[in-house]
Symmetry: C3
Subunit: 276 residues, 3 copies
């Protein structure tokens, strides 16, 4: 059974999603459709890229990933069929592939030559789903090979060691619990800190320890030093190994989240300073 995933900003209410699924099921009886997310903020390429980048490596080889965010064709936003890390992607050339692959090698980049690309107001259905069906059925696809350097690049902020005592990172994503996922990887963090004392300054709150696990945070031996209460801000390396600022057991609908209480948004800076 082949797998096709869908990442869109279509929401869960409208007819767009079931229509895409109906067409995929008509094109191939042997397809398993997996929703990545459909409540990507409208046109938010960064959010879609973050989500799909985290999810795609867990799928079996040759899974097809359809991207339906900012996918209306224009001469500056052509439709692509792309392969890397043994996974196949179909989506628009809006910079999202440079974010998902993030410096990696491309097995191929093909500019799709589809009669409906220019005309369609619903290219995920008219073009992307069609191409997925052609891949599933091993038909020959009408497309032109592109070089890597012809792919649109998304220039994003990178975490930056400004001097030996300061590391500036950024909020990459705010998750369902309102936790702030940053772009500071555990390896970069540890290399920068190198055993020194530090302070993460966040609005009115200062944090000077990063936990590897929630268990370490809630460990009895730490309870003296760290108040172990719901709603306390803490720093942790998350399951992707990125620094994350969370409120312990917070509910974003009652009492707020890290994002709301610290007043922080995607792309805001997070500064880590060595303390003396």
């Amino acid at each position: 059974m082949s797998i096709v995933t869908l990442t869109t900003d279509f929401g869960l209410k409208d007819y767009h999603l079931p229509v895409i699924k109906a067409k995929l099921l008509s094109l191939s009886k042997d397809v398993n459709i997996v929703d990545i997310s459909h409540i990507i903020s409208p046109y938010n390429i960064l959010e879609a890229a973050f989500t799909l980048k985290a999810a795609y490596p867990h799928f079996p080889n040759n899974t097809i990933h359809i991207i339906g965010v900012d996918s209306i064709y224009s001469p500056e936003n052509k439709h692509l069929l792309v392969k890397f890390n043994n996974q196949i992607f179909i989506g628009p050339d809006n910079g999202i592939f440079s974010l998902i692959n993030d410096g990696g090698v491309f097995e191929y980049i093909k500019e799709i030559n589809h009669p409906l690309s220019e005309k369609s107001t619903f290219p995920v259905l008219d073009v992307f789903t069609d191409i997925a069906g052609e891949v599933l059925n091993r038909y020959k696809i009408s497309a032109v090979d592109r070089e890597n350097d012809q792919l649109k690049k998304w220039i994003k902020n990178k975490p930056n060691i400004t001097d030996e005592n300061e590391l500036i990172g950024h909020v990459l994503y705010i998750d369902n619990f309102g936790n702030l996922v940053t772009d500071i990887h555990k390896d970069l963090f540890n290399k920068f800190i190198d055993g020194r004392k530090f302070e993460i300054a966040l609005s009115h709150i200062k944090i000077n320890q990063v936990f590897d696990t929630y268990h370490a945070y809630t460990d009895m031996s730490n309870k003296v030093k760290y108040r172990f209460v719901s709603g306390e801000a803490l720093a942790i390396f998350n399951s992707l190994n990125f620094l994350e600022i969370a409120l312990y057991r917070s509910n974003p609908n009652h009492g707020g989240s890290a994002a709301s209480l610290l007043g922080m948004r995607v792309d805001d800076s997070i500064i880590i300073r060595i303390s003396h």
Copy 2:
């Protein structure tokens, strides 16, 4: 593998949906369940009909569509098994079938004779899913044939050419982006306009061009005449070929949508006037 779709106002939180799916999977191992939408506004038959009408033709023949909106049995709201356009529908006689089939021919209309219909507070589970199982397993179904004219009709507003210079349509649906889908089909619009100049009056905004595609809207050559900016109101024929009023690349959560900025709701009128 057989396909069963679900269109309900049950939302995504409660136990109702997984219970229905569990029962379907118990009745037939070979069933693929596809969600159409479960966030139909409560009891909103128009919204459910619009969504299912747009989605169902894309499914393979003999797909079974279960409708769980306003489905509690009453003598005025009996339970039906209906077939048209090679698709099978199970749902209440609340007018929704006249909206979905919209003047088309019915292959059959059967009034379901189920021991739990009258008693059940959860007829989608107790009755509709049961009947779907009987259809899937090709059992004989206890039901009484009905004539087309015994089916409940939903009388809805129709687009109306009031005189040779005025066409009045209505908002049929507000989609996930807050775009206003109207009941004015491209064919009706073109027949009415017949090459003349026109004006679509919407609150404080006037539009005098309808684009066939977003690409046409964003085409370089139009940039002089039309400001190509996020948030501009535009008219377009959507993928269903109905006139749609959209804000270009709007995010309904930040900065508003066509629906919120124009203060328009489902059933509101949209007037197109010939300008001289």
Copy 3:
């Protein structure tokens, strides 16, 4: 085909859900994943237990149910593999199993011995999904048997007959329509009332009849006694046979729900008094 269900508070936006599904599909090609709910309120064990308790009995025998609510490991919150009523559950020892099984017999309770339990910030992926794969593939699972009395118990309010004229129950759950599901079972209610007249006192509203079906409520013969209008409060035994307070055909987004109009929340008391 084996079935695995997921009950979590992860929401529908983030990468967590598709990653879990990807891993399950990698571990077994023959698995059908069914979502119970992912919009359980964060850390809300009662809500997760209510939902899964209502849904699980409808699944085929040997379905695997993964619980991802409050699942971070601690010495007080170990990871369990549990079987009862021919269904298999994987989740944390936070009291949820005592709520779902509710006094029933356990076929087995096993404390999972997994190398990642203590370390993981995402145990549903790292531990629970892994164990589900081992169950699906009939591998031997490293775990220690536990006795029933070593399972964490959740002490919750029980409906209480305080004297022969007063029954006090509680709001157990607020559903998608804003209806109040109570913990008063039809059998207990009928035994207490025993043919006497009663009054359910709810804020400014008094109800003195419980309907078995919506059809009974809307039955023509009752229309004289009971105003048959949208928005009227009524009491009904729901599909689980628990007393439920609903507003007739209410839309929680427009005009309010039973929960909002009566100002009631989960765990609030509902008092039924015999009237003389």
